[in-house]
Amino acid sequence: MEFSSFAAALGGGVLIGLSAILLMIFNGRIAGISGILSSAIFADKKLTDKGSSEKASGLAWQWFFIAGLVLTGVIYALVYEQLGLPAYEFDMVSEPMLLIGGLLVGLGCSLGRGCTSGHGICGIGRLSLRSIVATCVFIAVAACTAVFIH
């Protein structure tokens, strides 16, 4: 790995960690993307019922976090060419495989109650047994699958 790639990975990681811990310090919330998505779109009452007044004051906080993620993507899409940054390819696998992969990612994150961010960073970051086990399982399975498929 080149130094620039290493520095970018480390710097990007620090930003992700900082975002996640700020959400905890300020809002007392876990920055788990799959949970945030599920709560926002399927109005998961279990996660929002604590702030009953939250509902009264409009859109759930989860939508604002998602808006931030999308906004970053929009800015990237507008400037990447000028900055000489790469465009990503999403068609490494066939369309049926994309659908199967998406279904598995959604179903797995929902059943397992977390993804790379919720378990891998926020969960391990507070030494949660469930998250440590889940992260070991999904990284091991993902590595085996990637070796087999790619």
Binding site: L15, I16, V105, C109, I121, A134
Partner: protein, 165 residues
């Protein structure tokens, strides 16, 4: 100031915080390379170690993120909880109720790993990349949302054997 107006201000603040955290998180995903499926597969496909093309980036990303999260969690959040203090913009911290291992957790993590290993996209990067308006990514996102919904249905109809501890 009345209690209700204090509450209202902090709810507005909490949404500004959520938006800014989303921007910071998305920037981290893009800067680190995690938003690029090719890079993720380059890490997950460990068979590349043998020919020297393996990309250990993801491990570095996680190390950086965990170093920041864990140190600030134990330096700031944990002492706050012990002292009974609430977060800045909310009345309480929100943590998952479940503390013990159960079959849904293991099965779910396994299925997620399977999907992640096939496509190299996890939920965060999927959302950040929506702006590319890429059709392949669109297919993935639609299927992922359906999966999330399906999981929610299963959890509500088939509660896990092991109760929250």
């Amino acid at each position: 100031m009345k209690t209700s107006s204090i509450k209202k201000t902090s709810f507005i603040k909490s949404k500004v915080v959520a938006l800014l955290c989303g921007v910071l998180f998305g920037t981290g995903l893009l800067v680190s390379g995690l938003a690029d499926p090719a890079k993720v597969i380059g890490f997950l496909d460990v068979s590349r170690i043998s020919n020297g093309t393996w990309d250990p980036s993801l491990m570095v990303v996680m190390t950086g993120a965990l170093a920041v999260y864990m140190s600030l969690f134990y330096l700031v959040v944990k002492p706050n909880i012990r002292a009974g203090r609430a977060p800045v913009c909310d009345t309480q911290y929100h943590f998952p109720e479940k503390k013990t291992l159960d079959t849904h957790l293991i099965l779910g993590a396994g299925l997620f790993g399977l999907g992640w290993g096939i496509v190299g996209i996890c939920p965060g990067p999927a959302i950040v990349n929506i702006a590319t308006l890429d059709m392949s990514l669109g297919l993935f996102v639609v299927a992922m949302m359906f999966g999330l919904y399906l999981g929610k249905l299963i959890k509500s109809t088939q509660p896990d054997m092991v109760k929250a501890g």
